[in-house]
Symmetry: C2
Subunit: 269 residues, 2 copies
């Protein structure tokens, strides 16, 4: 199954939650500290309890790289717990000159076998194309991000009246020859989502920011429903994986993701 | 010695070459393949032969991450070969929401003990501030990069008549309260360098693109000399480290970097 088949299968089952594995030793349930690899055990339990209900998993590289070489091993072992028919996203936000991006693409797609990656668009086409050339993978370019700093550069207005992030969306569509591109759009930016959703076409949309960052699941889903679009993934990290710290946290998280899915089903336009 | 002291000491000795360790198993001298860790041996020989003449070392993460956990170990071991009084730059081009950037900062500055990092500005202030808060480190924000793709977004013109990259330079100056910021500016963009150098003030300038990418050492140095500025590092990677593939490549590279330094000394305004 290539990345497109994996994601489309789940989207067609009305599954839209991307589980963000921002796994932090200081926040995981304390009883896990008795294990040899507490974070790996945490990820394993999260995955076991969510894989039937999740549309994708997103691994936030920062939380693993801080452990150096060991962190890389934990990423690899975590990926082994994720069933092969579910999309895995490397939230690594890469982007560099061509020959360097080639190396990053090898690291993420070949060495680690991720299905998808997040990319910084700043350096433009030739910094991204080495990723785009993996036709069976999905590349999510940062467009409008969920944080306040989005105002600094992403929302600079250009002389044609468009914001910088709107240029990124436009170019991403132009570059989408292999139907393997998507964008990251902050779930915290509902007004901008409403105003720009008609420019998304067949890009895959990854929306972070629900939960800890204040974005609303209902509002995001309503906007997509209203536009009869289902090509979106709503990432939830902290708001889901740390929702319980007891020995039964896995069951609790299962309950929460099921509730999220039920909410998504129920939301009327 | 903090990062600022390291870099200023070398700059004041008129040393400006940053040696880029884009070390690729397919390009290193073939005899090194007999070693257990060919890339580590390659880096060691490069460092032994250049440390008296280099202003800094830049490690391009992509070339190491493609080896996963092992790559991280090679980075760590390479750093041990670099004398403690020379600036080390993690060319990792990071940038993410605040709590994630905090983790990346820990990975690069605490776990790996680099002196400096390259950052993607796209997501704005709160994505960068976790790095800025390390006052004894140096953060290089991408402004105008050396590749063709710089035209796509970096050179979008905004309604105030400035390009996006000029906004990045302006903001980086505003954010430089701790005198720990710099920018990346492509050595391939000489006209833009001339036009913008007056906006650099006391930022540290890292210029990639000399050599394989076509930038000219002479031209870059002339522009800085003309403006009586010495706060610049010229990165050379492929053009230096692969300049010889014999068993004596170390000596050859030493000769080349000395020649570069002599050229820099000689260049008249």
């Amino acid at each position: 199954m290539n990345a497109q088949e994996k994601i489309i299968t789940r989207l067609n089952q009305n599954l839209h939650i991307c589980v963000g594995l921002d796994s932090d030793i200081e926040k995981i349930p304390k009883h896990l500290l008795n294990y040899n690899e507490p974070i790996l055990e945490f990820n394993k339990i999260i995955i076991e309890n969510t894989y039937q209900f999740a549309a994708a998993y997103k691994i936030n590289f920062a939380f693993y790289e801080k452990y150096g070489a060991k962190g890389f091993e934990i990423i690899k072992q975590t990926l082994e717990f994720i069933p092969d028919n579910i999309l895995t996203i490397a939230d690594a936000k890469r982007g560099d000159i061509g020959n360097t991006s080639e190396m990053y693409a090898k690291a993420i797609f070949d060495e680690l076998s991720f299905d998808a990656i997040t990319l910084h668009p700043y350096m433009g086409y030739d910094s991204l194309n080495p990723f785009f050339s993996y036709k069976d993978k999905i590349n999510f370019l940062l467009a409008l991000t969920s944080n306040n700093g989005a105002e600094d550069f992403e929302k600079l207005k250009t002389i044609d009246g468009n914001f910088v992030f709107q240029h990124v969306i436009k170019k991403t569509n132009e570059w989408n020859k292999n139907k393997n591109l998507g964008i990251v759009f902050g779930a915290t930016k509902i007004e901008e989502l409403k105003e720009n959703i008609n420019s998304f076409y067949d890009l895959f949309i990854l929306l972070p920011g629900v939960g800890a960052q204040g974005g609303s699941l209902d509002e995001v889903v309503s906007v997509f429903n209203k536009n009869k679009m289902n090509n979106y993934l709503i990432n939830i990290s902290r708001g889901l994986i740390y929702s319980d710290d007891t020995i039964n946290f896995g069951n609790f998280i299962k309950k929460i993701i099921i509730e999220h899915n039920e909410l998504i089903q129920k939301i009327d336009i």
